[in-house]
Structure formats: structure tokens, C-alpha cells
């Protein structure tokens, strides 16, 4: 479904992504792990159109999407979340979700002023969907709160909520579990499973919580120093001594078994 082919990205003298290649199969939940600074977030930025690569190609559903701008990729079905939450700070939590869906006639000024009936019907639909998403994320109690006032964990959930509002084909989740209340982590994993099973979303998940990766992801891609070290199911990854090596000195301990 998504093929990353020899992508490179440099920041000045630093090569953050170095001829990185992998493939994400349709309807998989693919894990993307690796020590801090491995280039995981950067590859997401390149795939989602937030940054242009210095080399390489990206194919999505048969089309070459290399270098296309982020908003166009959204409409092709690619949604990404951010490692550092990027909420609309001075807007309410509900608005943060309602802003996302495509096909909002009311975004056109003339429709907003003249076809008010059509616009408000669609807005009602979107509002109901947003309320469902908030219930799912257990954020209903902060529905009117300004998103900037949420806790770090709540902001992370809101990131996921925006992805759910998008109805995408593929979701790129950048550390969705970081800072989220541990009792919610199980729910989070379950929700991702359900979206994958019921709505056929494909996922690519960057995550440092290995329990979550083990539970959800197959295959798992290990990135080190801007390139793919290996790829396989979690058992294979855990058994590979090179992975442990790569993480030494990092912040995550991968249990050998």
C-alpha cells in the first residue's frame, strides 16, 4: 500500500534518514521502532508531506506521491499524528475535532453565508461524530475546554481523535502512548485494533512502549541511524542481538524474551 524507496533526508550536515526503504501492507498494523534520533519522526514527516526528501521515492496505492504537499496527501487518505501534540490551542476540544473532516461545504465563505441549512446539517453530523470520538477517548468532560489547557496525555489522545475524524486509509501514529495514563493504554491499543478490524485502517505506529508494539504490530520495522536495520514479527525482532545493541545507551530496554 505504501512503499518507501531509498528515502534520504539531511538537515545541514546531519543525515537524519539515510536511504531508507520499507513497505507497509494494506490493513496491517506496522510497528516502527528504534532508538531516539533514529529518524522515525523524520520519515513520517517525509511520507506525510511536511518535509521534502533529498532523495528517493514514495508510492502510495500505486501512485508516486513524493514531495506532494501535506494537505493533498490528506485527501488521498494519509493522516498523521504528531509526536509533540499539535493542537489548536485557543480552540475548544470539540472544535479541534470538528475542524478535521473533509468535504465541509461551510469552509466555503459563500456556502457558509448562503446555504446555511446544508452547512448546519453537515456540521451537526460532524459534531455527533466528534462527540462519539470524545466518548471513546474518555474526553467528554473536557469537550468545551480550550485544547491548550489539556494535560500532555490528554493532548496525545486528542491527536488520535483528530486522526479518527479524518476517516483515512492509513494512519501514521507518532508515539501515541507517550504520556497517556497507563490505565488508558490498554483501551488505546484496543481502539487501534478495532479501527483496523472494523474500519480497515492501515496503521504505522512509532512507539517506545514495547508491550503495546508486541500486542498490536506485525510486522515491526527497526530503524537505526536513518536506515532500516531489520524487519520481522516481534519475536524475531526481540531475538535479534543487533536490535538490543542498537538500543544500548538508549532509553528502552527490549526484553530478550
Amino acid at each position: 500500500m505504501l512503499t518507501v524507496d531509498s528515502i534520504s533526508k539531511r538537515f545541514g550536515g546531519l543525515t537524519a534518514v539515510n536511504s531508507c526503504s520499507f513497505t507497509i501492507e494494506a490493513q496491517s498494523i506496522t510497528g516502527l521502532i528504534g532508538p531516539n534520533g533514529a529518524g522515525k519522526t523524520t520519515i513520517f514527516n517525509v511520507i506525510a508531506g511536511a518535509m521534502k526528501p533529498d532523495g528517493g521515492r514514495i508510492q502510495f496505492q500505486g501512485a508516486d506521491i513524493t514531495g506532494r504537499p501535506a494537505h493533498k496527501l490528506f485527501h488521498l487518505g494519509i493522516m498523521r499524528t504528531f509526536q509533540i501534540p499539535q493542537e489548536f490551542g485557543a480552540m475548544s476540544v470539540l472544535e479541534n475535532l470538528m475542524l478535521v473532516p473533509a468535504e465541509q461545504a461551510g469552509e466555503n465563505l459563500f456556502h457558509a453565508l448562503l446555504s446555511t441549512k446544508k452547512v448546519s446539517l453537515r456540521d451537526k453530523e460532524i459534531r455527533e461524530r466528534a462527540i462519539d470520538v470524545l466518548e471513546f477517548l474518555r474526553l467528554t468532560h473536557v469537550i468545551d475546554e480550550l485544547a491548550g489547557n489539556l494535560s500532555g496525555g490528554q493532548k496525545k489522545l486528542l491527536e488520535l481523535g483528530r486522526a479518527m475524524m479524518a476517516d483515512p486509509d492509513i494512519v501514521l501514529l507518532d508515539e501515541p502512548g507517550a504520556g497517556v495514563n497507563p490505565t488508558l493504554l490498554g483501551d488505546l491499543a484496543e481502539m487501534i485494533e478495532r479501527l483496523n478490524r472494523e474500519r480497515h485502517y492501515t496503521f504505522c505506529i512509532i512507539e517506545h512502549n514495547m508491550d503495546m508494539i508486541a500486542r498490536l504490530c506485525d510486522p515491526v520495522i527497526v530503524m537505526v541511524e536513518g536506515a532500516v536495520l531489520m524487519q520481522g514479527d516481534m519475536e524475531t525482532v526481540r531475538a535479534d542481538p543487533r536490535v538490543l545493541d542498537a538500543y544500548l545507551g538508549g532509553d528502552v530496554y527490549v526484553a530478550p524474551n
Binding site: F74, M98, L99, A105, L109, A112, L113, D123, D144
Partner: protein, 317 residues
């Protein structure tokens, strides 16, 4: 108070409301740009000037001293002012809208000044420093004070119409999207929004109102020259009005315009009574006082007198 004095106060009040209304239109325009969308337009004077000159040229009788005039009805002059401002704002938008907010400010200051210099120096079109006179006033056939009252009502009606239209747009997905762009451009892009296109749209909408205000001002004072488009009495004052009134809040924008115009005008009355040698300095002192006033307001009300309020589930703000 004798009746002549009362009549004088009444005329003064009418002029306050008229000028306040014209500023309110500009403030609503800046609110679309800065309040909703976060676009730092520091070239208000330029768009105001374009609107003023276009309406003046379209509606004055034919004259050898400037382009036209085309002797068109005032309504057409104002529409023309809006159309020309829209086209120019769109071109400026195409050039500048990718700039970060602080650079956009610098670019719009420059562009606004370029417009003003062109208008001042293209004497064949604008009569240069001597300006365009004999601009028709609506309701001119009525006797005083009814012509002035009529114009005031016209201006207030324009303010009311635009207030309702812009408030409706603010609460629609359109306004939500603009504020999303203000709050987090990157996230708006990731949600599929064509940030550049919508920023240009907001820039054009806001500038059109500045052009309209320029047109109304030209008809009100019946004369337009370079002195009437000084950044101090347009750009600077409109910014203070919006920030003091409440950026992001349409009611705040309108309130700020009337309130600040009242204070500005009143301070002129006061400094007008000073001896002549102090009067020049007093003009600068007024600017200083307005700046100070803004500081005081912002100390007390961080978001302005009527701060921005987001819609909530139990009531629409």
C-alpha cells in the same frame, strides 16, 4: 445650554458615530485577518487609500486635474473601491502570504507605503499632493443636519450588515478553519486544509473592508489627498482599536473602534486648546497617550475589553 450649542454637540455626536463607524468597518476587516486568521497586516493605510481614490475617481464629475472622474453613482464608486482593493489584495496575497507573521508585517508596511507613494506621485491620476476634491456626499440634496445624519445612518447600517455577515462566517466552518490556521498551521495542513489558499482569502476579505472604509471616508470628507491616508490615523489607530476592543471578537472590534475614536477625537479637542507652540508637540503626545492607554487596557484585560470566546456545547459564544 442654548440651542445653538446643543445643535453643535449633536453634530459632533453625529460625526463621532460616522467616523467611529468607518473605523469599525476597518476593524472588522483587520479582525478577519489578524483576529481570526493571524495575518499581521501592517499596510492598512495602503488598502484604505486605494479604496478612497478609486471611489473618488469613479464618482467625481469629469475633471482635468485627475483621472476621470466618471460621474458614477456613489454606490458604484464604493463597489468599485471594494473590487479594486480585492484584486490588489489578492495579488499582494499571492506574493506575501507564505511569509511568517513578522515578515508579513514588514512586507505589508512596505507595500502599503508603496501604494500611498504611487497615489501621491501619479499626478495625472490623483492630482498628487493637491488631492481630489468635490467628491459627492450621499444625501447631498438634504439640508444640514439631515445630510449628515443620513450618512451616519448609512455608515451604521453598513457596519451592522458586515457585523452580522462576519459573525455568521466566524461561527461557520469557515471561521473555525481560519482560526485553526491561526492556531496551528502545521496541524491544519495535516488535516487537509489548503492553508495558503485560505490565508489569501482572509487577507482579501479583510482588505476589501479597508477599501470600503476608504471609499466611505472619501465621500464623507468630500476630499481625498495624501494627508488623509497617513498610517498613523489608519494603520496604527485601527490596530489599537482591535487590540483594545478584543482581537477575535467582532463585538470587541466594533466597540474598540467607537471607543478609541471617541478618545482620539476628544484628545484632539483638548490639545486644540493648547497654545500654538505646544500644539505640534501635542500631536505626538496624543500618540503616546493612546499607546499608554493600550498598555493599561491590556494590563487589566489581557485579551482586550471583549476577549475572543469560543463556541461551547451549551451555548454559542
Amino acid at each position: 445650554m442654548d440651542s445653538a450649542q446643543a445643535y453643535g454637540y449633536m453634530l459632533y455626536f453625529v460625526s463621532l458615530m460616522t467616523m467611529g463607524g468607518i473605523y469599525a468597518i476597518m476593524c472588522l476587516g483587520l479582525n478577519i485577518q489578524w483576529g481570526f486568521t493571524g495575518l499581521f497586516n501592517a499596510g492598512i493605510a495602503g488598502f484604505f487609500a486605494i479604496g478612497a481614490y478609486v471611489s473618488a475617481i469613479l464618482t467625481t464629475a469629469e475633471s482635468a486635474s485627475h483621472l476621470g472622474g466618471y460621474d458614477l453613482p456613489i454606490a458604484l464608486g464604493l463597489v468599485g473601491a471594494m473590487v479594486v482593493t480585492a484584486v490588489i489584495a489578492w495579488l499582494v496575497g499571492l506574493l506575501c502570504i507564505r511569509l511568517r507573521s513578522d515578515y508579513l508585517a514588514i512586507a505589508t508596511i512596505g507595500i502599503g507605503e508603496i501604494f500611498r507613494l504611487i497615489l501621491k506621485n501619479e499626478i495625472w491620476a490623483t492630482n498628487g499632493a493637491r488631492g481630489i476634491a468635490k467628491i459627492p456626499l450621499p444625501f447631498e440634496t438634504l439640508s444640514e443636519p439631515w445630510n449628515k445624519i443620513g450618512f451616519m445612518l448609512l455608515v451604521l447600517a453598513v457596519v451592522a450588515v458586515f457585523y452580522f455577515v462576519i459573525e455568521r462566517a466566524r461561527l461557520a466552518p469557515w471561521g473555525r478553519l481560519m482560526t485553526g490556521i491561526r492556531e496551528n498551521e502545521q496541524s491544519a495542513r495535516a488535516a487537509g486544509k489548503n492553508v495558503e489558499r485560505f490565508r489569501i482569502e482572509a487577507f482579501v476579505c479583510g482588505s476589501v473592508l479597508m477599501g470600503l472604509a476608504g471609499g466611505l471616508m472619501a465621500h464623507y470628507i468630500k476630499f481625498i489627498g495624501p494627508g488623509a491616508t497617513e498610517p498613523l490615523t489608519t494603520t496604527f489607530l485601527v490596530w489599537v482599536m482591535l487590540i483594545a476592543g478584543g482581537s477575535g471578537n467582532n463585538r470587541g472590534a466594533v466597540l474598540g473602534a467607537f471607543l478609541l475614536w471617541g478618545i482620539w477625537s476628544f484628545s484632539e479637542v483638548l490639545t486644540g486648546r493648547l497654545p500654538a507652540e505646544l500644539a505640534v508637540k501635542a500631536a505626538y503626545f496624543r500618540i503616546f497617550l493612546i499607546g499608554l492607554l493600550l498598555q493599561v487596557v491590556l494590563q487589566r484585560y489581557a485579551g482586550g475589553i471583549l476577549p475572543e470566546r469560543r463556541p461551547t456545547t451549551n451555548k454559542v459564544a
